[in-house]
Amino acid sequence: MSGNCFEMGLIQAFLDGETNPEVSLQVSNHIAGCDRCALALAEAEEETSAVFAALDREMNTLVPTQRLWSRINETIAEEKSRTSVWQRLMSFASVYLVSPSLAVAAGFVIVLGLFVAFWNPQAGNIEVGVLKENPSVPQLPDGGVRPTEGTPTVPSIDSPTSGPSKSAVAVKDSNYSAEKLRNLVSNASVKSVEPKNVPYVMPASASTGYLPGEESYVKTIAELRQNVDDQKDTALTPSSRVSYERDMAIVNDSIKRMKDVVRKNPRNQSAKQALYSSYQDKVDLLNSVVQREDLIASLR
């Protein structure tokens, strides 16, 4: 701070939502009563909006989002891990043998091997270059494949106690037809690609010790939050996103502070009122994103 006022850097950080909730609140309080800092904030906002306006076109190009890239990379990694050793060997050979120099070198290696085999009768018969069977891929009686160690595990549908870490590997071959295995793999791939299907788990600390009426707020917020987290990247412009995150930080801080007060003194009706009011603000804030996305969808 310079004098009683905040430095421009801190104000900019506040504007960008980079300050922690306590500092945000401190800055908010100060700005509410300080014309100089309010003016500085307004100027910073103008600058930010100008920058966003300049970058808007760049940021709005039809490029995949970071989330999409990560999903694509995950899928590629998954595909790679599912590829057998034989397939990898074939793909290696198909890529590298097209180069003449590498092919010549390979030829020399083969010839060298033949020499060694010829001149060293104790070496026995060696099958060169061809693997008749991939030993790492055990065959099922019906032609299917039992997943091996290192391949992604498949959650068992039949066993209610088995979580995602429990794999079908533990089940005997006779229990799995090819069709069933295929379904399991298919289901697993759906689950792994679509994280939206994973139910939202409320924080453990929030699941106990609710005030009367608080639980309904928490549940509503959890449900809304799930929707908003999926939508806010597409529904909000950068400047809107900044405002949203800033308001959310303020509301979260209000909830936290009021909750602490109510925990200490449950009879404090004023704090309870402020707490519920903050919860309602949070619901409204999340709702505004959802409604905005709904409106955008209705205009398509």
């Binding site: 509410a32 390979a106 509301v251 502070r257 007060v261 004023s270 704090a271 903050s278 505004s288």
Partner: protein, 360 residues
């Protein structure tokens, strides 16, 4: 033995050269893309059909409508209390009420707009329900937004008793002298005046201002300011509601008996008078609440300000007060007389400042 070895060496060298030559020829020949077939032993993965993963940007960040841009003008005779529905993607939208039973539509440099009659009145046979929509030929640049019109300017003249339902994406809207309007915008300011039959206006990025209007009024902006000036209830019980997340709310001469105003981080200003029996709720999370009241105001103030501050230029008689850390609660009255006959004002803030001032 030596001769045999020599022959074998020759044979091997020839074999080696032959392999190298064949491989070199293969390398120079364009190879077809190796067809990737699943290993016969690998179970076939039945992937569910996936939608296109690349998100199509929508809303304010979407590409502007591409296609033919023409200037259109249409008009139609209608019933005076006609209902009109329209959707505008972009442009300056101006709707003006006039004293003619006619709707005129003018779109400058935009989509080919038209007016569809959805319903006609029983007695007069005149249209009572209209839809303004994009009438571009299929495939002629309609794009994915086929029902919504767009243009540099979209102007409409409608009967003064007309009711409108408007949705927009990026539009700056001005509406004057119609009976009633329901409007929601993704982005853009909304300015409304002389609307006696009620207003519901929402914009997610922009300001909402209302002037000289009445009825049940709901104004909402996610980020912008909400301004109301000289607004009255149409009938007893009409509610005035203003809400913004980070913008300011300014209410001047709003004479509804029920007012709710809520902002999260923005400030809230009320400059007017509280009516007897009225119920007023002003709420902010971190913004300030400022009220400017006449000196002869009569009301009961219930202020709850967790970490905030309360100050009053008008004499505030404290009835109950509970001031603890993080939970301050004050109930008091302003003015002389029976407080029960006055208005009730609920003020709630977590960390903002509440100020009650005297009108000049």
């Amino acid at each position: 033995m030596t001769k045999r070895r020599y022959k074998i060496s020759q044979l091997t060298l020839s074999l080696c050269l032959a392999i190298g030559l064949i491989s070199a020829v293969n390398g120079q020949t364009p190879q077809p893309t190796p067809k990737k077939e699943p290993a016969p032993a690998t179970p076939k993965r039945e992937m569910p059909p996936k939608p296109m993963s690349v998100p199509i940007p929508v809303g304010p960040r979407a590409m502007p409508p591409q296609g033919e841009r023409v200037t259109t003008e249409k008009s139609i005779m209608v019933a005076p209390d006609v209902s009109i529905k329209l959707c505008v993607l972009e442009g300056k939208l101006k709707i003006n009420g006039w004293e003619r039973d006619e709707v005129r539509l003018f779109v400058k440099e935009g989509s080919r707009a038209g007016i569809k009659v959805l319903e006609k009145g029983g007695e007069s046979g005149k249209p009572v329900w209209l839809l303004v929509s994009n009438m571009s030929r299929p495939g002629a640049g309609r794009g994915q937004f086929s029902d919504c019109i767009y243009g540099e300017t979209v102007e409409m003249d409608v009967p003064m008793k007309a009711s409108l339902t408007v949705s927009g994406r990026t539009t700056h809207t001005t509406v004057d002298s119609v009976k009633k309007i329901i409007i929601q915008n993704v982005e853009g300011n909304i300015a409304l005046r002389n609307i006696p039959g009620g207003i519901s206006a929402t914009t997610y990025q922009g300001d909402v201002s209302v002037e000289n209007s009445s009825g049940a009024i709901s104004l909402e902006s996610a980020e912008g300011n909400v301004i109301a000036f000289e607004v009255n209830p149409g009938q007893i019980g009409d509610l005035f509601k203003a809400k913004t997340n980070s913008g300011a709310i300014s209410l001047q001469r709003v004479e509804h008996r029920q007012i709710e105003a809520n902002s999260i981080s923005g400030s809230l200003l009320f400059n007017g008078k509280f009516l007897s029996g009225g119920l007023y709720r002003f709420k902010t999370s971190a913004g300030s609440i400022r009220m400017l009241l006449p000196a002869d105001s009569l009301c009961t103030v219930k202020a709850s300000y967790g970490y905030g501050v309360l100050s009053s230029e008008l004499p505030l008689k404290i009835i109950t007060q509970n001031v603890t850390s993080g939970g301050k609660n004050v109930v008091g009255t302003i003015g002389e007389g029976d407080a029960a006959a006055g208005a009730t004002v609920n003020l709630t803030t977590v960390s903002g400042r509440i100020g009650i001032g005297k009108q000049p």
